[in-house]
Symmetry: C2
Subunit: 371 residues, 2 copies
């Protein structure tokens, strides 16, 4: 791969073809099941990559912070949804942003709804986030008191408009196929119950669900109007391990220079650590830690070896690979190995910029221009 | 604290007084034991903070990448040491840097030594990194064949100059007082053996050891000429847990806005997750995960509550605190809580900028100017 010759230090490679195929697949699936795809951009955080979704008819997007919403606000999306319980300290930022960009937000309690009703200067749609078992954020699904108190505040407000219910079932990331199925059924059931209960009062309301595992694996979206997955754009080893994707669907790999080889312990030391990959970790069948898996960089991108070499440990800058005989015999100091990330959202957030296979640099919200 | 009023989103607070006290303490200890302190700057990665060391007589520093060396190269340090096995793909970058800045590097194999001898255009000092049991990087302590082969290459080179041996005993981070003592004895013994063996041939050679736990806890540095700890500038909960510092010595805290409170489950949801803190984790005595501990922000900085509330889980942007009754009863949505980090180097690398208690913004190598 000619672009390899330009790499001297850890660099995040992006395979545009794989990435676009992921967007295409999810987009087709959404159309087939008649759900709107409102993709989450927290994974890539890139204006350039954001543009690619246009080809697939996407016109509304999801982000995870007001700073991320501001970053994408110049791209004329019909609406940007901030999928995080609204932080009342950021109302002034929100009022500035909504002067020029249609925004929706998430509410999980009465107090913030009240504060917004008092202080919003421009119209804002909101979803009520529901906790259907994940236990991270959201109103309990049976807490109709809170749900209806928020609705009443919105009904009296000229600025706050109720748009529907949102569930992020993040616990699908930590289970298997049957677990994902069970959680997906809970999500659908919760959203259907809420829609049945409130659709007379709010006939325009929608239900939205977000997680990549359910959206990748499941084929029954009854009760769900909109989906907002994000990770599918790149996928990663976590998603491959729970069956959301194949490893060949993973669209990013960290290029890591080989700085030492220890034949006797089957270890290869690379420049690539926690500041590049983040420290998300999988557990191998034998109980050892896996911080990423080796791929072989080629002119077309990378190939996945038939036997797995993996990062057994990482520190701030160091990565230590447990290598197969095959890898050990074909690797030299000064080579560059690719590493498939355990959690692509976090790796992209660490690296803050991409290098495409044809040598183009792509932006990231938090990146410097030259990375 | 008036600076609190300027915070709406997650922000990394730096207590300058605590930080300078940490530098002062380590500097005095080094002088007392007649070892030179060559502090590692990978923890703070900040020009502004770097300047503070000058007050304590520091004139040589350590970094972990060539990019970090370049960042600090304008500050007239007498020498910058890159404490990472040299990556031969970066020789051109090194040749550029050494035109204007004295650099030393680390070598762990013959091949890179040979490549450097052929291609260096300016003089470079090097340490041979020794693996005395950590198992991450370095020449085996008894591998005199490799050590002497590297020395022979340097002897024939006009550019490569052997400076001494370097050991980073990173396994002290994962043990306790008696474990640290044992590792420190191994480090000293290894360095003393190597010095005895080679000091006739290289009378100017030095021995250097790096880890913060040993440098913080131990009081016998015989056999060690120079120390290069880094983390001590901020410390963190990991260091407090192994006894390197008190929690009151931790110099940074992540300011996190409170977005929801769940009284019944004793949980507080904050904006502060893996992209802010990194995902390093400690295990509480009861087996639960601990991604950071709550401190109460005040006008003078922060206070540590007598009972511990901690981050029980984090995702990309979310942090979920398990709160004590005391914290729960005194916290409102819209408040800002401080979080002491588990691993300050990684948290600083995520946040890439600091806000001092008097409202001054301090730089970070990877940060944008406005963060």
């Amino acid at each position: 791969m000619s672009v390899l010759n330009s790499i001297a230090s850890p660099t995040l490679l992006l395979n545009e073809a794989v990435c676009k195929a992921n967007i295409d697949r999810m987009s087709k699936k959404a159309k087939e099941h008649q759900v709107a795809l409102i993709p989450h951009f927290k994974t890539h955080q890139s204006l350039e990559i954001g543009k690619w979704y246009r080809e697939f008819g996407i016109d509304e997007i999801t982000v995870s912070s007001i700073q991320m919403a501001a970053y994408f606000s110049g791209q004329s999306w019909q609406k940007i949804h901030i999928a995080f319980p609204f932080n009342p300290l950021e109302i002034d930022l929100l009022n500035t942003l909504t002067k020029s960009c249609p925004i929706s937000i998430q509410l999980v309690n009465v107090q913030v709804a009240r504060t917004l009703a008092e202080r919003l200067t421009n119209p804002v749609d909101f979803f009520i986030e529901i906790d259907a078992g994940y236990g991270r954020a959201g109103v309990e699904v049976s807490d109709f008191g809170t749900i209806e108190a928020i609705m009443r505040i919105a009904n009296r407000s000229e600025k706050l408009a109720f748009r529907g219910f949102y569930i992020h079932a993040g616990h699908t990331y930590h289970t298997d196929h049957s677990g994902i199925r069970k959680i997906h059924e809970q999500t659908k059931s919760a959203l259907k119950m809420l829609k049945d209960k409130y659709c007379d009062e709010f006939p325009e309301m929608v239900t939205r669900s977000g997680d990549t595992p359910s959206c990748s694996i499941e084929d029954d979206f009854r009760g769900i109007d909109e989906i907002g997955p994000g990770n599918f754009v790149f996928y990663d080893l976590t998603q491959a391990s729970i069956g959301s994707c194949d490893k060949s669907d993973i669209a990013i790999a960290l290029a890591t220079p080989v700085v030492d080889i220890k034949k006797e312990t089957h270890e290869i030391l690379v420049h690539g650590g926690g500041v590049h990959l983040a420290k998300d970790v999988l557990t191998n069948p034998d109980g050892t830690n896996n911080y990423g898996e080796v791929v072989l960089l080629t002119e077309q991108g990378w190939t996945i070896p038939t036997t797995t070499s993996f990062l057994k440990s990482i520190s701030q800058e160091h990565g230590l690979i447990k290598a197969t005989d095959e890898l050990l015999n074909n690797t030299q100091i000064g080579d560059i190995l690719g590493i498939l990330p355990v959690h692509s959202c976090m790796t992209a957030d660490c690296m803050r910029g991409y290098l495409s296979l044809n040598g183009e640099k792509l932006d990231h919200l938090k990146g410097q221009k030259a990375y």
